[in-house]
Amino acid sequence: MSISTSIWVWMAALLTLMVYSFLYKDNPFYRLAEHIFMGLSLGYTLTILWYNYIIPRVYEPLFLPPHQWSLIFPILLGIMTFGIFSKKYSWLIKYPLAFYVGGYAGLRIPLLLQSWIIRQVEASFLTPDKFTSLMSSINAILIFAGLFATLIYFYFSKKREHGFGAAAQVGIVFIMVAFGAAFGYTVMARISLLIGRMQFLIHDWLGIM
């Protein structure tokens, strides 16, 4: 029984207990812990933003030789976001927003097409080498049927009658199995985290076991 003597471990243990007090009911201790968490993580993100981005990507290239004066333009565009603070110039924020959101949209289109659609279609092709054994052929056909039925389930341009309705029913079966698996894994991941916290309290803090 060697209770930890480190002030840090005690701090972490107290905060952990304050968050778990929410399980009893929403109380001031929980709200205190949550606000500390919100503030600290916002402060942490700002520090990372400062050291990993603003200093190496903006301050140094601009103010240290060789000066990259072209950085003035993105900074000007950035300053336009301050327009929102005044009613008169609030339309100014549309420009940096348009640049950022429009730019990312253009950037994401080919990546989405490649990894979310073409890669999935390519993987769905049943190559003969998948038919090595009886079991793998059944699996290959089942996977193909599952994909087919799932896409039919999410098809909205046709009424669900006779054959079409049946395919959708098969689709929902596959979808529910996939959701069941996701459900099981989420439970496992969250319980692992709970075990991690309990091990911290029992082992690192109270020193039992």
């Binding site: 929403d26 092709f125 049943l126 669900r160």
Partner: protein, 373 residues
């Protein structure tokens, strides 16, 4: 050790295609039996000596030398080292590397982009001209919404609508506002109340506008109470605890959980079930869908939420992408179906000693997988 210039073991090099230059692809052919390692060495134009340039993986017989400079000529020599002897392979002409302006391996993405893009845009134009013309099947959820609001007002209980935790730019939040409009109209007709707690101030003001117009269109502009749409808090679990409190106090007969939810979805759905309300959820947060399906009476799964809002609002932009995606799904299904049938025929033909179909099929597969690198 004898220096044996094996005729069979040979080497070739070419500028690496579809790249930004500065790289040469080196291939070795018919690697002798028992080779342990293949050492690669390089001679720069104007130099006298070959310098060491890494290894060529035996199982691939190919590697990219990325340490070359564009425009300079290079000669490569491969040395396959077996147990007690080694074999040398050399090239004749110099090779230089250069950048390309178009990456041919990404043609598949370009073709699909142009096709899908034009399909979506044409549907949007069609929808603008004649919104009713484009057919979207009536989702069963819309009947469930009617039934839920009806039963709730019969019992004289209010309706609770929770919009999720994301801001106004999230697709799920936008869809939830369209569904709110339909629920608002129903509630106005039945002369009941809809309570709308909020996590985001902008969503709150938009929801107030939506409900005001919904009540007005149902002919009951005075029945809308602005205070029923209010800002609760911006803390995740604080919001969930707050909404639970409203559920236990107001005892709504029907609860709508529509929008993008995080881990707090469980607390809401559980309390909603425990007070016996009919719960209709809808979210584009795939991680929360399993929990909603297990706890709620009805769930709109991801895309169904967007289809429902397109059905209600007939908004050309929404109709355009739903119809465009539907057509793309049909095309993809035919492609996969045709590929599977052709693949199995090619497989059978190959067993029967005729591999030509098989080569065509592999070529097709390779074409699709091109952009993967």
């Amino acid at each position: 050790m004898i220096l044996l210039l094996a005729l069979a073991f040979s080497i070739s090099a070419k500028d690496t295609p579809d790249d930004g230059g500065g790289s040469i692809t080196v291939n070795v052919y018919n690697i002798p039996e028992g080779t342990a390692r293949i050492e690669l060495s390089r001679l720069e134009k104007g130099d006298m000596l070959y310098k060491e340039a890494g290894l060529i993986p035996i199982f691939k017989g190919e590697c990219d030398d990325a340490s070359v400079v564009d425009g300079i000529g290079y000669l490569y020599r491969g040395k396959a080292i077996a147990k007690d002897t080694f074999y040398i392979a050399e090239m004749e002409g110099f090779v230089t590397s250069s950048p390309q302006w178009f990456n041919k391996s990404r043609i598949t993405v370009l073709i699909f982009l142009i096709l899908f893009g034009s399909v979506v845009l044409t549907y949007i134009q069609l929808a603008k001209k004649n919104p009713e013309g484009l057919f979207i099947r009536k989702l069963p959820a819309l009947d469930a919404i009617d039934e839920a609001v009806g039963r709730s007002t019969e019992m004289g209980k209010p309706v609770l609508f929770v919009p999720g935790l994301e801001g106004i730019t999230d697709a799920g939040t936008l869809a939830s506002l369209t569904i709110l409009e339909m629920v608002g109209k129903k509630v106005a007709e039945y002369g009941s109340r809809v309570i709308h707690p909020n996590f985001d101030p902008i969503v709150m003001t938009t929801a107030q506008e939506t409900l005001k117009t919904a009540f007005a269109e149902a002919g009951r502009p005075d029945a809308f109470n602005k205070d029923d749409v209010f800002y609760l808090t911006y803390e995740q679990f604080g919001f969930a605890a707050g909404v639970d409190g409203i559920m236990l106090r107001e005892r709504p007969g029907a609860i709508f959980l529509q929008g993008y939810f995080y881990a707090e979805s469980l607390i809401l759905a559980e309390t909603g079930y425990s007070i016996g309300a009919i719960q209709i959820a809808g979210t584009n947060a795939t991680t929360q869908l399993p929990f909603f399906v297990a706890a709620c009476d009805y769930v709109l799964l991801g895309e169904e939420m967007f289809a429902a809002s397109a059905y209600i609002s007939r908004e050309p932009r929404l109709l355009g992408s739903i119809k465009g995606s539907d057509l793309a799904k049909v095309v993809l299904l035919f492609m996969i179906g045709a590929g599977v049938i052709f693949g199995t025929i090619a497989g059978i033909a190959k067993q029967g000693g005729n591999p030509t179909y098989m080569q065509i099929f592999n070529k097709m597969l390779e074409f699709l997988a091109k952009g993967a690198k």
